[in-house]
């Protein structure tokens, strides 16, 4: 019984990440809204809070963010074979589509209408990423401290181009000192 349950989860992980791979346009962050909808809201495999942790880990470890995220979610849901299923799932759409495009590369570059559709998609992706941020923010306490950290990270990354890993490291050191050493409201740290 448990074994078939595990198989079901693995198959479902593969199919879900296949869909995520096929509909992620514009890299890592564009994947977040799909991850939210597919793995938190639809299947309840992980919690909203986990999404932020996973992004932090995917962003600050070497490798392709989309693959990092898939491997992590797969592992959390169904162990080693879950991570294999999710990683293969997210990779296969790219592999198939790019092989097809390579065959007709010059014609594809010249296809004006494809570029029009994708200009539209890129504008839509902005809305999607904003939506993911709004959703995720509901699971972080709205106190002065968190809001200041958010604004500082936004300004430093978007306006000053400071590396994301440095900022995550900064958050880590701050968290360790503020919540760990000074033991300021530990409950808050847990949320």
């Amino acid at each position: 019984m448990e074994k078939t349950d595990q198989m079901k989860k693995i198959r479902s992980l593969f199919l879900t990440f296949l869909r995520i791979g096929a509909f992620t346009f514009g890299g890592g962050y564009a994947m977040i809204p799909l991850i939210e909808q597919e793995t938190v809201e639809r299947t309840h495999w992980i919690e909203h809070e986990d999404v932020l942790d996973i992004i932090a880990i995917a962003e600050s470890t070497p490798g392709v963010i989309a693959i990092n995220t898939a491997t992590f979610v797969g592992y959390k849901v169904a162990g080693f074979w879950g991570s294999v299923a999710a990683t293969l799932g997210v990779t296969i759409p790219s592999l198939v589509i790019i092989c097809l495009i390579s065959l007709f590369f010059e014609q594809f570059v010249a296809l004006k209408w494809v570029s029009y559709a994708f200009a539209g998609i890129r504008a839509g992706v902005i809305a999607l990423i904003l939506g993911a941020a709004v959703k995720l923010s509901k699971y972080t306490k709205r106190n002065a401290l968190n809001i200041s950290l958010l604004v500082i990270a936004f300004v430093l990354s978007a306006l000053f181009g400071i590396n994301a890993i440095l900022l995550i490291l900064g958050g880590l050191v701050f968290g360790l000192i503020w919540f760990g050493l000074l033991k300021k409201n530990e409950k808050e740290a847990a949320k």
């Binding site: 570059v109 209408w113 990423i129 968290g175």
Partner: protein
Amino acid sequence: MSHLLLLFVTFFKIGLFTIGGGYAMIPLIREEVIGRGWLSAQSLTDFIAVSESTPGPFAVNIATFVGFDTAGLAGALCSTLGVILPSFLIILFVAKFFLTFSKNRWVQAAMGGIRPVVLGLIVGAAYSIASGILVIGSYSGFASLLSIVDWKAVIICVVCCVMQFKFKVKAIPLIGSAAAMGLLLYGVAPLIGW
């Protein structure tokens, strides 16, 4: 070294040394791929543009493209496997560690500081994409405001926001609608003289 093995090793290296994903990897890819004569600078630039018009992670796309272009399907499989393997192995290790210690007081304290920062980074990503797409010229006084903004993109973005926040439209249908609006505004509208 056979070409297939070289593809695998090269993209393994690219996967391993890319932190922060996607476009952060372009300089390294340029060096390796153009340096080895696998791709001309022009095809790489063309491909980056094409990659923006195809789904999937950029790193996987470019790996598959170079592999397929130089050695067919076997090449595509080798280079793609190469680029995803470092991520896979490292995250497997990290996930095991993180899930074991995630309830630890110090891990919780660190995550308490990291989560708001990650939220800021996500908003930052939306901002960077928006400033690259919605703004197409440089600011030169208040009067230039009208001409430096890509109003069609702004319209699509606003409509998508309304669909999402007000009508709770899900991501995949939203992407479909955005594509349709792109075709309509950039393709059909000029034809009928807008």
